[in-house]
Every structure is written in structure tokens, then in C-alpha cells.
């Protein structure tokens, strides 16, 4: 498969602050590629540069063979964008919104009308198409927001955290929509800070933190970076000191890493069950009350933890 997106050393600086620091990756035609990272990692800034909204400080990217810096108008024809924040005219109906945005992409007349019907069907709002967006639920608004990005049948769809702040049912619907679009051949660049979404949707994942791409590959490739390890997570009482427990656990045999997030201590180990008794014993010695214990197989969360020493939600 050829690359529809090729990013080379993209940098965005605001004065002394570097929001994106020389990231390089590509996306093959037909892929779902997720940029996974915590809030403020640089995901939206990266997407804004790729969608030609921000001019990069340095570096470049080609989309469908067009440079984002040299030929942004051609790039705009190739991409569809679903921004993180709702970008709709709330006084207009869903249908009126879709017609307006379709016109902005050069659609008109009967082709526009039938395309609007298709998109309304696709986002499941045909029945509510004549209602003003203002009257919609958050999830319905999100669906219209996605619909606008699909109107001109883009080859590459950028979706910037489209499930933030919505109910589980709408979230499920959006994830299913992404899968459907991909099955229809659309390439998707999806940003999220939800590890589960990246795991469910992505062919490949780029992990971004502090403006840098710290890991890139398929889920299998990424989890192999952690090795054949498991993560033992201890939830401790709020009154206890997790740092003290983590430090004491580092002395134990087979504890590769022990990190603290809020009132959780995450222990990376080759076999969680083997060290469980020793861990509980250490906690008892220090008078620390363990509320619950989780054992997790290697996943993207573990990769992020392994690479940064922090949880994704930090």
C-alpha cells in the first residue's frame, strides 16, 4: 500500500514553547492510524498543521502527494476534518448545516442534495434532519459534526478526539461509524487519549507525548516493546503514601518498574501472580491498606507507562 500521508520532521513552536517537536510518520492508504497521547501532548496541533489550519514552524507533510505548505488548497480537497470541538451553526437544521458545508466544498444542486441524504442516513439522523442543531443531544451534534467531514467523500479523514464528552451509546455509534468508513476504503487518522479506542480501531498507533512521537507501530509491535510483562495495579487508600510503597517494591525480585499515578501503584513484572504475595506483605509491613488489585496483560496503556513512567490520563 502507498502512503497517503507522509509527515517529515514537523515542528510547531509558539515563542519558546514547542508544541510539536519534529514528528515523522506515514499513513498507508486504507489504514486507521491513531495518534494516542494524553491531553496537551500535541495531537490537535499536529492535526491542525496537517489540515492546513496552522503553518508548521518547520518540516512538511504530503497528503495525496500534495505538500501542506506548498499546495494547501489541493490538500484541502483530499482531506475531511472532524474537529474536536463542535463546529456547526446551531440555529440551522442538520440538513441546512450539511448543505452549507457541502457548498463550501464545491457541491451543488442535485449531487449535493443526494449526498446530504446519504450522509444523514449514514449518521442516523434522517428523521431529525429538519430539527435545529440547537435542539440536539451532545451525541447527535457529534454525529452531525462527523457528517460534515464526510460530505465530499474525502480520501483521508482526520478525527480529533470525536468521542470526548459524550455518552457511551453515542461513543459506541461513533466507533462503529469509523469502522464502517474504513471498511468502505476511507483512510482515517484518529486522535484520542483513550487507549481502548486506539486498540479497537487502529491498524497502527503513534504514541505522542510532549510534542514528540515516542513510539510507532502495530499494537503487537508496541506491546513487544514492553516485553513479556504484566502490569499489577494496586489501588491504595487515599490516606496512605503510594510513593513510599512504590520505592519499597522496587527492591523486590522480578519487579521491573513501580510507578505511581494518583493513588495507584503500577508494577511491571514478568509474572504478576508470582510477586503478588510479596507485594501484599510489603504493603502490610508499611501499614498501607490495599483496596483492590488488577492484573493487566500488556496493552497500549502499559506501553505508555513503560515509555513515560506516567499513565495516559495524567
Amino acid at each position: 500500500m502507498s502512503a497517503i500521508l507522509d509527515v517529515q520532521n514537523l515542528v510547531k513552536k509558539y515563542g519558546d514553547f514547542t508544541a510539536v517537536n519534529g514528528i515523522t510518520f506515514d499513513i498507508k492508504e486504507g489504514e486507521v492510524f491513531s495518534l494516542l497521547g494524553p491531553n496537551g501532548a500535541g495531537k490537535t496541533t499536529t492535526l491542525s498543521m496537517l489540515s492546513t489550519l496552522y503553518i508548521p514552524t518547520s518540516g512538511d507533510a504530503t497528503i495525496g502527494g500534495h505538500s501542506i505548505t506548498k499546495n494547501p488548497m489541493a490538500v484541502k480537497q483530499v482531506i475531511g476534518v472532524v474537529p474536536q470541538e463542535l463546529a456547526l451553526y446551531e440555529d440551522l437544521t442538520a440538513r441546512e448545516n450539511l448543505i452549507f458545508w457541502g457548498q463550501m466544498y464545491g457541491l451543488s444542486g442535485k449531487p449535493l442534495s443526494s449526498r446530504v441524504d446519504e450522509v444523514l442516513e449514514q449518521i442516523g439522523l434522517t428523521d431529525k434532519a429538519k430539527n435545529r442543531v440547537r435542539t440536539y443531544s451532545g451525541g447527535m451534534k457529534r454525529r452531525v459534526n462527523i457528517g460534515v467531514g464526510l460530505l465530499h467523500k474525502p480520501r483521508l479523514l482526520f478525527m480529533d478526539e470525536p468521542t470526548v464528552g459524550i455518552d457511551p451509546q453515542s461513543r459506541r455509534a461513533i466507533l462503529d461509524t469509523v469502522k464502517d468508513l474504513n471498511q468502505q476504503g476511507m483512510t482515517v487518522l484518529y486522535t484520542t487519549h483513550y487507549m481502548e479506542e486506539a486498540q479497537e480501531l487502529s491498524d497502527r498507533v503513534g504514541i505522542i507525548d510532549h510534542g514528540e512521537l515516542i513510539a510507532l507501530g502495530t499494537q503487537k509491535e508496541l506491546t513487544q516493546q514492553v516485553g513479556h510483562t504484566e502490569t499489577l495495579i494496586l489501588h491504595i487508600a487515599e490516606s496512605d503514601d503510594p510513593e513510599a510503597l512504590a520505592n519499597s517494591l522496587k527492591d523486590l525480585h522480578d519487579v521491573l518498574e513501580a510507578n505511581v499515578t494518583d493513588h495507584e501503584v503500577s508494577i511491571i513484572t514478568p509474572d504478576a501472580e508470582d510477586i503478588l504475595a510479596s507485594v501484599v506483605s510489603k504493603a502490610n509491613e508499611r501499614g498501607i491498606k490495599i483496596r483492590s488489585i488488577d492484573i493487566r496483560e500488556p496493552n497500549l496503556e502499559a506501553v505508555f507507562l513503560h515509555l513515560t513512567g506516567r499513565a495516559l490520563r495524567d
Binding site: 496552522y54 484541502k76 480537497q77 474537529p83 456547526l88 451553526y89 440555529d91 458545508w101
Partner: protein, 405 residues
């Protein structure tokens, strides 16, 4: 915005109602005065003959007693200096030989050696900072000259007809003609009237509503353009502006579309107000071509201000607040409430930053019979103002990153 009924009502109805209100206050609907009074005018009568005296007397006639405050001078240069010092609205200089240029001296009418004198011109030296008053003075002089010419032409035609038909003896012609000329300068009907037309006389009328209606229209135009500019920031905060910029539309197209939207909104507002005041109040706006060009220029100038206010603001709320304040300040400064001629010279100079002042200048000129060529100064000023402000607004937009990527 066109779904915002409150804003639409405010933009269209408020100026209309205010115009009506001010019309009542100033007596427009009860036959009261025009609002202009005691216009200081200096008459320099170098003619000292029949017609020169008649013109000078016109300014001190009973009919114009409230409107005019004439004073006499014999020195044109000194009188012009007084205008330059803003001591009066205009000087009317009646040149020597004015009467003789129209009425030949006795015994010369059929003299074969009679040489027709060179035509002379009455000069109206106008004070540019008092365009309304100067316009009224000029209109009075124009009307006098027009009546003079009308009387002379019709009289000469009658005498010629009577002579050709044998009803008038050639020996009687000179005496009849002389009597006719004598009557030309002594018309019984007043040359100038205010407010109401005299039947059978094309009187000059300065309708106060022709000043107030554009005054209100221009003031609320400032509201409209700032409200329109507000939509740029509103679109930014609701996320639709970035989405527009991501679509295959250039930044200049997006900004240009917004500006055009504001421009046409302003145009519609002023157009509707002018149409409504013509239909309901019979306001005479003057030369149609001049009116259209002036409206376009005034809306363009105001749009420049709207864009600058938007560029300097951070939020839609700020635009609304600053826009409302500017609307009122410009309304006062620009003469929408009080005729600028009644304000101190410093304010009159400062008023030139407002589209209201230039626009009113133009509308007044139109109402006093001016046409497109006489509107060049306000139109040029409004166009330059609009272009300059638009340039500054684009610079500020870019600096603040509102449209910048």
C-alpha cells in the same frame, strides 16, 4: 444574523422611529422650523444697482428673517478672511455691473453701437466647515439667479411676440422692456421658502428630515457593521471559522465574504430606511445617482470601522460593547443628533474621522440640490477611510492570529 429578529428590528426599526421622534421634536410634522437658524452670511454688494440691491434685500427679507443673519461688507477680501476664520457660513459677493449685465442702460437697448457687457458672476465663498448653512446660502443665490433668468427669458419672448404680431409699436418696445426688467428684480413671491413650496414657484426646500433620516441611518449603520464584524469572532468561538478555513476556500475569500456580507447588510439597512422615509414622509433625497454612490461610499467607510472594531476585539461581547459605544460617540461627533455647525471648530475637525460626518455632508449637499460631481469630496473621503481602515484591520487580524494560520 438574519435569524436574529431582535437585531434586525433594532437595525431597521430603531433609526426609523428615532427619525420620526426627532421629526416631532423639531416640528417637522407640525410645520415648525428646519432646525437651522440665524445663518451668518456676509453680503458684499459691489453692484449698488437694482438687481444687486434686490439680492441683498432677499437675505434680509421677512421670509428669511429667522433663517438668515446677514451683515454687509464692502471689502471682498476682508469678508473672505472672516470666512477663513469661521466667523460666518458664506460670503455672497455681488460684482460691480451685475445689474447692467442683465438690464442695459437707458437708451442703449436699440443702439446699433451697443456692446453687450461681459457676463459677471455672483460669488458664493462658502465655509467648508459649515456645509449645510453654506449650502442654504448657495441655494438662495441659485434660486434668485434662476428666477432672474426665467423672468428675463419669458419677458423677452413676450415682447418679441407682441412686436412681431403688431400689437406693440417698435417705439414702445424699449419702455416696455425696461418696465419688464424693472419687475424682474421685484418679484412679489418670495424667492426662497423653507418647508413649503409656493404654488407656481420652484422654491428651494431644505427638509430637516433629509438631514435627520440619514443622520439616524448612518448612526445605526455603525451598529450594523460592528454587529456584522462580531460574527467573525462568534464564528471563531463556535469553531466554524477554523472549519471554514480548512475547507477549500482561501483566507481572503473567507474574510472577503464576511466583509461583503457586512457591506450588503449595511447597504440594505440604509436603502430600506431611505426608501421608507421617502414613501412615508415624502423626504426628497435629491439626485438619484449621487444618492446611490454616496450610500455605497458611506457603507464602505462604515464597514471599514466595523472591521477595525472586530480586529481590535477579543470576543463577540467586546465587539458588541465597543460597537455600541462607537455608534453613540460617532453619532454625536458626526452630527447625527446635533448639527455639526453648532459645535466648536475642534469637534468639527475631529468629526472628520467619522463616516457619519462625511455621509451627512454628502446627504445635505444632495438635499440642497447637489449632484454627483459636488459629492466628490465626501465620497473620496469615505472611500479612503474604508480602504485605510480595512487595511489596518487585516494587519491587526494577522497580528492577532484571528484569520492567520
Amino acid at each position: 444574523m438574519f435569524r436574529d429578529r431582535a437585531a434586525l428590528t433594532f437595525m431597521l426599526l430603531a433609526p426609523f422611529l428615532l427619525t420620526i421622534g426627532m421629526g416631532f421634536v423639531t416640528g417637522r410634522f407640525s410645520g415648525g422650523s428646519s432646525g437651522l437658524s440665524d445663518i451668518p452670511v456676509i453680503i458684499v454688494n459691489l453692484d449698488h444697482e437694482q438687481l444687486g440691491d434686490a439680492l441683498a434685500d432677499t437675505f434680509s427679507s421677512q421670509e428669511l428673517a429667522d433663517l438668515m443673519e446677514p451683515s454687509a461688507s464692502s471689502d471682498p477680501a476682508a469678508a473672505r478672511r472672516l470666512i477663513d476664520e469661521d466667523q460666518a457660513a458664506a460670503v455672497v459677493i455681488i460684482p460691480e455691473g451685475f445689474t447692467r449685465s442683465i438690464i442695459p442702460a437707458e437708451g442703449t437697448l436699440f443702439d446699433p453701437n451697443y456692446v453687450e457687457p461681459e457676463p459677471v458672476k455672483i460669488e458664493v465663498y462658502a465655509n467648508p466647515s459649515r456645509p449645510t448653512s453654506a449650502g442654504v446660502v448657495k441655494a438662495i443665490v441659485d434660486e434668485f439667479v434662476s428666477r432672474l433668468e426665467e423672468g428675463r427669458t419669458s419677458g423677452m419672448t413676450s415682447i418679441t411676440q407682441l412686436t412681431l404680431s403688431g400689437l406693440l409699436d417698435p417705439q414702445q418696445v424699449e419702455s416696455e422692456a425696461r418696465q419688464l426688467f424693472d419687475n424682474v428684480g421685484q418679484s412679489e413671491s418670495p424667492a426662497i421658502t423653507l418647508k413649503k413650496n409656493q404654488e407656481g414657484a420652484a422654491a428651494v426646500e431644505f427638509d430637516i428630515l433629509a438631514y435627520m433620516a440619514p443622520g439616524m441611518a448612518l448612526m445605526f449603520l455603525m451598529y450594523t457593521v460592528s454587529y456584522g464584524g462580531r460574527s467573525i469572532l462568534a464564528e471563531r468561538s463556535q469553531g466554524t471559522l477554523p472549519r471554514l478555513l480548512i475547507s477549500p476556500t482561501s483566507t481572503s475569500q473567507v474574510l472577503g465574504g464576511k466583509v461583503l456580507g457586512i457591506f450588503f447588510m449595511g447597504l440594505a439597512q440604509v436603502g430600506i430606511l431611505i426608501l421608507a422615509s421617502s414613501i412615508f414622509f415624502g423626504v426628497q433625497w435629491g439626485d438619484a445617482i449621487g444618492l446611490v454612490v454616496l450610500i455605497l461610499a458611506a457603507v464602505f467607510g462604515a464597514t471599514g470601522w466595523g472591521m477595525l472594531i472586530t480586529a481590535l476585539s477579543r470576543t463577540p461581547g467586546q465587539v458588541a460593547n465597543v460597537g455600541s459605544a462607537i455608534m453613540l460617540i460617532f453619532g454625536i461627533l458626526g452630527g447625527s443628533f446635533i448639527n455639526l455647525e453648532q459645535m466648536p471648530a475642534a469637534i468639527r475637525i475631529f468629526s472628520k474621522i467619522t463616516p457619519n460626518a462625511w455621509g451627512l455632508d454628502g446627504f445635505t449637499t444632495l438635499a440642497l440640490g447637489g449632484t454627483l460631481p459636488s459629492l466628490m469630496e465626501p465620497i473620496a473621503a469615505l472611500l479612503i477611510m474604508g480602504a485605510l481602515l480595512f487595511g489596518i484591520a487585516v494587519f491587526v487580524f494577522n497580528r492577532n492570529g484571528i484569520m492567520q494560520k
